[in-house]
């Protein structure tokens, strides 16, 4: 991926001034929208192949299933935009879930348990941020360390045993909805909107893109890059804590075993969303659409009755094809 090192921040305000024709001929447009276009194509294919796919119930099921991954992906996007990567994301979610479970198991109120879950996530984010920004350890190594440490902490805290949580609040959260919008979808949507606002309409967002684009230049301009990196990891950690609450609500238990597929899928969604793995370029909507795409793919293949042995192959193909598209458009 050859690219200029200047932070290209295609602000929506600037983009709107261009005509449609100009926008369509801009490679950046296609890169940002790869996931959305692929998603549309997939929806059409599955809609034709399986009559159940476009039913209200199934669309709802897909959106609920995607909510968790969307939230984690937004966190991952912020970190990757700074030029880093958060490998500890899935472990952090498990660890925060275990904290939630233990608080409930020891008789704590569910509200406090949820709050502590988010704080547990922020704590891992803080450690990641300090290691990377001030410890000057490469992101990959620092978060590899916390990946292992957080999963170990989850096992220690839970003594390796899952805690069943029967809470009407969590059950409501998992099955209830506001009008036609399930709470899960509502929360994910809010996270995406807030993430988009933070990235494109605040000074923090601009500084974040600048840090990821060229940390040297950003520092020279007086941006506190260490603080920006720390903030990105804190965001990812906090969102992992939020995801832990939804995860626990969905499966009705705090499980100490880490489901690593969430980590891999969050990175895959970011790639599908057209975010540069070197940082500095990207959107929030793209990766969110990428996360939705991955969920739609598995849902559609399940409806078609494709054996689960083939499903990962098709998912892998989709990710590589998307990366190829981005590569050739650049």
């Amino acid at each position: 991926m050859e690219q200029s090192n200047t932070p290209v921040t295609a602000l929506p305000a600037q983009a709107e001034r261009l005509s449609w024709r100009e926008r369509l001929s801009d490679p950046e447009f296609w890169i940002n929208w790869t996931a959305v276009i692929a998603l549309a194509v997939l929806v059409i294919i599955f809609g034709i192949a399986s009559p159940a796919f476009l039913s209200f119930g199934n669309i709802r099921a897909v959106l609920v299933a995607a909510a968790l991954l969307v939230i984690l992906t937004v966190g991952q996007t912020f970190v990757i935009l700074t030029g880093g990567i958060d490998l500890s994301l899935a472990s952090t979610m498990t660890w925060a879930g275990v904290v939630l479970g233990q608080v409930v198991a020891h008789g704590g109120p569910i509200g406090l348990a949820c709050l502590l879950a988010i704080i547990a996530g922020l704590l891992v984010g803080l450690i990641n941020g300090l290691l990377v920004a001030w410890g000057r350890i490469p992101d990959f190594i620092a978060t590899l360390g916390t990946l292992s440490a957080a999963s170990g902490a989850a096992l220690i805290f839970s003594n390796g045993e899952p805690v069943t949580i029967v809470s009407t609040f969590l059950l409501q959260l998992a099955t209830g909805s506001l009008g036609p919008l399930p709470y899960f979808v509502l929360i994910a949507l809010l996270v995406v909107l807030l993430g988009h606002f933070l990235l494109f309409y605040t000074r923090f967002g601009t500084h974040l893109l600048a840090t990821g684009g060229d940390a040297e230049a950003a520092r020279a301009m007086g941006i506190r890059t260490a603080g920006i990196k720390l903030a990105a990891y804190l965001l990812a950690g906090g969102l992992a804590g939020l995801a832990a609450i939804l995860f626990t609500a969905r499966i009705g238990a705090a499980e100490p075993a880490v489901d690593t597929s969430y980590l891999l899928n969050s990175v895959a969604a970011v790639v599908l969303g057209g975010v540069s793995l070197f940082g500095g370029r990207g959107t929030i909507a793209g990766p969110a659409a990428g996360a939705l795409l991955l969920t739609v793919l598995v849902n559609g293949l399940t409806l078609l009755g494709l054996s689960q042995f083939y499903q990962p192959v098709v998912v892998g193909l989709a990710v590589v094809l998307a990366a190829l598209l981005v590569r050739y458009w650049r």
Binding site: L24, S25, W30, I37, A38, V41, L42, I45, F46, A49, S50, P51, A52, S55, G57, N58, A61, V62, V64, A65, G160, E161, P162, T164, T168, L171, A174, T175, F247, R250, I251, G252, A253, E255, A257, V258, D259, S261, T295, V298, N299, G300, L301, T302, L303, L304, G305, L306, S307, Q308, F309, Y310, P312, V314, L317, A318, L321, L325, Y328, W329
Partner: protein, 342 residues
């Protein structure tokens, strides 16, 4: 401009290729969606990376063919794929299936995906791993029947076999699965209750259902207790590790190993004179009984709330017979659904 349109064309071709792959794959294995609804059966089981659940899947598919219902089987990708399993069930729950067979990874992970199924009044057949009664009640789910192995009884039968193997008694060690796992606990509990007073349990360890960990733990125990006479192991996979540790210590034949599960490799190990005995479960039969239960429920029959799946003790005396009829049981068993289907 020209470059862009070339790129656009290329991308469309790539997407089209992906589309063809997907539709082709889907078409190749069409076993579910489509034709008329309500007599179709959907099954969601644990990961097919384990031979136990592969046998279960075969049982479901073979029986469906025998009794003439169409079935779609979906499985989790691994033992940690709790939400993925729920997603798959939810995808199937939205379709017009008449009956659902579920083997949940945990007691609660499928509960909320099952809520709409139960609300629609469709029968839910719970096989192998039980759904938490408390969670099911909180979510308002009605389970039509539960079919599974009685693990305490399986542990008990293993204890009887150990008593036969060690007529003069002696020291034994217990190797369990993950600490706190209900299945493991029940098997160990059944064994501890079933052994005569002449047999003493000197140690109990958790080897996380892992063959390698069981091998290491068994080696350590053999060094700590040189006069050890036997091991009871909570599943066959770990037992094969224990057998290896005994061979490594040069004590083959002197230390007896009894386990639970009845996987093919364990039966072969018995035939080779390594493993002493296994209390064999029949996931194939559990799956098949699930389909029978669905068929009976769809015919409007009232199902028994709980059905115990058959277990049989396999030793060197009957291992040839057990291997010949694998994955089906080698002797007759009680099947209440057969009577309902008559």
């Amino acid at each position: 401009m020209c470059r862009q349109s070339l790129m656009t064309r290329m991308s469309l071709i790539l997407l089209a290729v992906l589309g063809v792959i997907i539709t082709a794959c889907g078409g190749a294995s069409s076993s579910g969606s489509g034709s008329s609804g309500s007599t179709q059966v959907a099954a969601v089981i644990k990961g097919l990376d384990n031979p136990f659940f592969q046998a279960m899947q075969r049982g479901i598919q073979d029986e469906a063919r025998t009794v003439g219902v169409s079935v779609t089987v979906q499985a989790a990708t691994s033992i940690t794929d709790t939400t993925g399993q729920a997603d798959k069930l939810q995808a199937l729950a939205g379709q017009n299936y008449g009956c659902y067979i579920v083997n949940p990874i945990s007691g609660t992970n499928l509960v909320q995906a099952l809520a709409p199924v139960s609300q629609a009044g469709k029968p839910i057949i719970n096989i192998d791993n039980p759904i938490s009664a408390q969670a099911a009640q909180a979510a308002g789910i009605k389970i039509s029947t539960y079919i599974g192995t009685d693990n305490i009884s399986a542990g008990h039968q293993a204890a009887n076999e150990m008593a036969k193997l060690l007529p003069t008694g002696g020291k034994v060690a217990l190797i369990g699965g993950i600490a706190g796992d209900v299945t493991s606990q029940q098997r160990l509990q059944g064994f501890s209750q079933g052994i005569p007073a002449t047999i003493q349990i000197v140690q109990t360890v958790a080897a996380d259902w892992d063959r390698q960990k069981a091998l290491t733990a068994a080696g350590d125990i053999l060094r700590a207790h040189p006069d050890l006479k036997g091991f009871f192991v909570a599943n066959d996979d770990m037992a094969l590790g224990v057998v290896r540790a005994i061979a490594d210590a040069g004590k083959q034949g002197q230390v007896k190993v009894v386990s639970v599960d009845g996987i093919q490799d364990a039966l072969k190990s018995i035939q080779a004179g390594q493993l002493s005995a296994t209390v064999s479960q029949y996931p194939y039969t559990i799956g098949a009984m699930g389909v029978e239960a669905c068929k009976a429920a769809l015919a409007g029959k009232t199902l028994p709330a709980k059905v115990t799946a058959p277990v049989l003790v396999v030793t060197s005396d009957n291992v040839a017979q057990a291997l010949a009829s694998f994955p089906k049981p080698f002797s007759s068993y009680v099947d209440p659904f057969q009577d309902l289907l008559k």
